[in-house]
Amino acid sequence: MKLRIIASALAISVALAGAAGLSTGPAQAATLSGGFDVGPGGFQGNFNPLAATAGFTWLSVYFEPLVAYDEKLQKVVGVLADSYEVSADQLTYTFKLADAKWHDGKPLTSKDAKFTMGLAMDARSGSVLAARLKAIASVEAPDEHTLVVKLSAPSASTLDTMTKVMMLPEHALAAIPVDQLAKNSWWSTAPIGTGPFKFTKYVTDQYVELAANIDYRGGKPALERVINRYFANPAAAIAALRAGEIQFTYVDSNDVSTFKGDEAFKVIEGDSYVVNYLGFNHESPIWKDVRVRQAVMYAINRDAIIQSLYAGAAKPANCAYVVDQLIPQGIDTYGYDPEKAKKLLEEAGWADINGDKPITLLTYYTTPLATNVLAAVQAMLAQVGINVVPRAVDTPTYNSIVLNPKPDVAQFQMVYAGLQNGPDAGSINVGLNEKQIPPAGPNVVRARMPELNSALDAALAEPDASKRDARYQDVCKVMNANLPWATMWVANRYGVVSSKLKDFIWTPAPGGGPYAAHPEKWSIGE
Amino acid sequence: MNAPFEPILDIRGLRTIFRTRGGEITAVNGLDLTVAAGETVALVGESGSGKSVTSLSVMRLLTRNVGAIAAGSIRFRSKDGSVRDLVALDEQQMRKIRGDDIGMIFQEPMSSLNPVFTIGDQISEPIRIHRNASRKPAMDAAIALLEQVGIPDARRRAGQYPHELSGGMRQRATIAMALACDPVLLIADEPTTALDVTIQAQILDLLLTLQRERGMGVLFVTHNLGVVAEIAHRVAVMYAGRIVEEGPVAEVFRNPRHPYTLGLLASMPRLGEATRLKHAGQKLAAIPGVMPSLANMPDGCAFSPRCRFAINACRVAVPGLAAVDPAHQSRCIRWQEVGQ
């Protein structure tokens, strides 16, 4: 018996040694492998677009929404809808559907669209969009190619939400009870979409494989297959990218330098649409005086941090926004001025307010970059006499602390966080409006600033798109003056692709999009 | 060697040393001993006297890098009649002698049997090694041996493991193992010390019978004078690494000529005698003091510090062996007085 064990052990080790000698063969030319769900825009293992809070970059390779952002994330364009119209009163949205086919050959009709809208509006289906679609009064399908959505009140974010509603086939899903839908294995075994690629298989926690949909209405895709590989962290994905196993992945900004100047790779840079800020907990007495908050702004050398830690790949933010059209003239730029910070603190009587007692700075960011940023912030604030102690926790812990209706102020006198500030500029409302203080919403800093509330309300209620930017400039001005947060910057995000990839469109959209990425055009050369 | 009395084992000037952290220790010093075919020689002494080291030296089984034979010769006559000096043999030649020409029994029957092999396996092993026997005949031979050493139901016992046997039976099994290849010399190192008296009696009886039947020479190492009297023809008494008295058992016990032998015999409580002593209000004749440590030997006679006969001359040089009669020797300069 012992001999047999030894013999088989030897056999295995010989096989292992032999296998080690093999080298990795190049992936087939017509196959693109990538880490599509790596990084903050990804949602590995989720196949259900209704439940998706992120991961749209990948989902929109085989599913399609009616509308999506363009690749610059500036305007909403039609995808499955050839065109759409919004009525003047902002209450009626009319979508004209394209002549599309499901992957199983059945035609897409407005009934499918209506069915999908029904699921998206029904929380029992597991839809995370239901609450955001509450304003919808009715959905109608007057003919095979028309979908009419009526709202009970104007809602500026409706189109933004509509970009996330991936169309689903009624003929495949209607038979499943709504409350069983989320748990159905259809999503990860046989999903049917209308996109340029068809789902072929999912190897648990390894990868998802799609094959070209040769009947795609936009023409036969250039690639034969697209593979989305799962990685536990960006470092693993980078290793695979450098080993030539994949052709694309998101990378953390501090890893970009390894690819700079390397002919084999192209670095894609894009706006993260997330503003990073030091949020003052307004329920803590130490931040009451605006001069203290100003001192924080002056004490931090944001330019230096951006230049060194971000290697220049971020824009300093003096309110929630950094896009030119949302920035009013003449706002304070809070240049680095530690002396002024000290003076302001002295005037405010900081020694009596807090002195050098430690102040917990809570964050959910655990990346190496954020760790370094916080170390820098800590050191800079210490120079002016503000003793912050960073505490990085995992997201669930962070949420449980800050979203608690009766928060423990000692646990988070300050947060280092980020908030989506685009493409819909209104998305910052939830973080700052007094109406959104937990449990009502995620205004975790408990900002109670009437001026800010009214500015935000006005901007959200502005029916005229052309005037909206001006409203948001007002919001910016108020933020800049009152400092509900010490806004830091909006950083860029990066993807790295193999130089062999052609016509590849990727942008670091919040949640992964969706945006018009046109996967059917992607191709790979030798 | 054409003496009428031809020994199968002839040890001359054996010196065995141990290397310890504190330096070298001489455990056996200048030992001469012979065993003839059909003769049982008892090597008797207290713990630390060097008697077990002597038997391990003959087998060349001293712990490597620790114990070593520093001087002397061990001439041994094998079954085939060839006479060789065991000290000069290489390991491979020595291995052919072990278990074939010389069998050995150890003190602890439990620990000297391998717990994970059956009794039969272990007894048949020397047969398979030295006789090139295959499994089946070797096992049959082992079962026959078990029967010879008085184990009932031998076939079943051969399939059992050591822990399934009683202490007495285990010692019978080790005897069977030592005798498997019909050795000309059997070395028995305290084979009955770990046993109860009634079992000891059985084993001694068995050894006597086997020795008579097979005509082997036996080197019997023990500390028990009673056992010596039962089993041996000749006795050699060891003290602190040297033989201090040697001769036929009856002669030495009846007429001890070394103060140590004398004291040893006197300090043994004997049946019947004790009651007489007690009634007489007398004490046992104890030897005062303790045996010196091998690392720290006194000058001259090692026994002199405990000896009531000791004189200054005893502390100068180690006395040589004096012949009390041609067969009886004593390492004492006052052996004549000791006898009185």
Partner: protein, 319 residues
């Protein structure tokens, strides 16, 4: 033997129930709400959305109710659904991870046993030799280096720099399944995982062998004229391996620990990776399910170890 095994299995089942309660209790002590794991602070959700989610995930029930419900379902083989990935039943999720982990740990164990026992025996037999010294120092270094460090360095050297092995995963995506491809992915992580175990086995074998070599029965074997090689390989090794068997059983915990790091560095789709992700995301059903399955595996391995021990050591009588 059968009765003994059954009794041990029954005790094991009891342990599992106790384990599930312990984990449940531990999780209950965790601050916060599993729903918190669901919110991306960069893209917040409204309270209405949250309460929809909560009731949909069954998290609005009181905890004891949740436990009893969980236990009742668990006894019928239903460990619930992952919170994060609702279409994936925990049982199938966990079961699909067992094979990769067993494969990884099994190959590592085989390598570790071979390397550990051979070097251990050589070290003991040639005590204080150059070989002994170098094996011993290597072994000590092996148990002194954190597994993640060797994993990272190994990954960097063999996968990224030398390109000898793939950087991670178990199979080449998109390729047809082949044993060669699997082994190609397996060899590096398994070798790295085996280091610590091999080191432990080596040290234990060495100590055990040294002890056994001093035993009387080894001397007896020599006295019988057994060749030195067989004295070592048969009489001594067989006895020396008895305690090593127990050690191998008890290193399973260590191996699972190491596997967590190796799996997370090499992206190996096993239990370790699943569990780390589940802990990071507070995916309670997955934590419960995978811990239980791992606990069950440990109990079974311990049982197997004991039975093996009883089989190979005739002194132990069971039943």
């Amino acid at each position: 033997m059968l009765q003994y095994s059954l009794r041990r299995l029954l005790i094991g089942a009891g342990m599992l129930i106790a384990l599930s309660m312990l984990i449940f209790l531990l999780l209950r002590l965790t601050p916060g709400d599993p729903i918190d794991a669901y919110i991306d602070p960069n893209i917040p959700m409204s309270p209405a959305q949250l309460s929809d989610l909560r009731s949909q995930l069954g998290l609005d029930q009181p905890l004891p109710v949740q436990y009893v419900a969980w236990l009742r379902e668990a006894l019928t083989g239903n460990l619930g659904f992952s919170i994060k990935r609702q279409d994936q039943p925990v049982l199938s999720l966990v079961l699909s991870r067992i094979a990769p982990t067993v494969l990884l740990m099994g190959s590592a164990l085989v390598m570790a046993i071979m390397a550990g026992i051979i070097t251990g025996v050589v070290s003991a037999v040639r005590r204080n030799s150059v070989a002994d010294l170098s094996f011993s120092v290597f072994a000590l270094a092996g148990i002194s280096s954190p597994p993640f460090l060797s994993a990272l360095i190994g990954l960097y050297i063999f996968a990224v720099s030398l390109n000898w092995a793939p950087s991670g995963g178990m199979l080449t995506p998109g390729a047809e399944f082949s044993i060669g491809d699997l082994l190609h992915h397996l060899v590096l992580p398994a070798a790295l995982l085996s280091i610590a175990q091999a080191a432990l086995i080596m040290r234990y074998t060495r100590a055990s062998m040294l002890e056994v070599l001093n035993q009387d029965y080894v001397r007896t074997a020599r006295a019988k004229g057994v060749k030195e090689f067989w004295v070592i390989a048969k009489h001594a090794l067989r006895n020396a391996l008895l305690p090593v068997v127990t050690l191998i059983g008890s290193t399973i915990g260590l191996a699972i620990g190491g596997a967590i790091f190796i799996e997370s560095v090499f992206n190996w789709p096993g239990m370790g990776l699943l569990l780390v992700n589940a802990v990071e995301t507070r995916d309670y059903p997955v934590i419960m399910g995978s811990t239980l399955i791992i606990g069950a595996c440990v109990i079974v391995v311990n049982l197997l170890t004991d039975i093996t021990y009883a089989v190979i050591d005739p002194r132990i009588k069971v039943g």
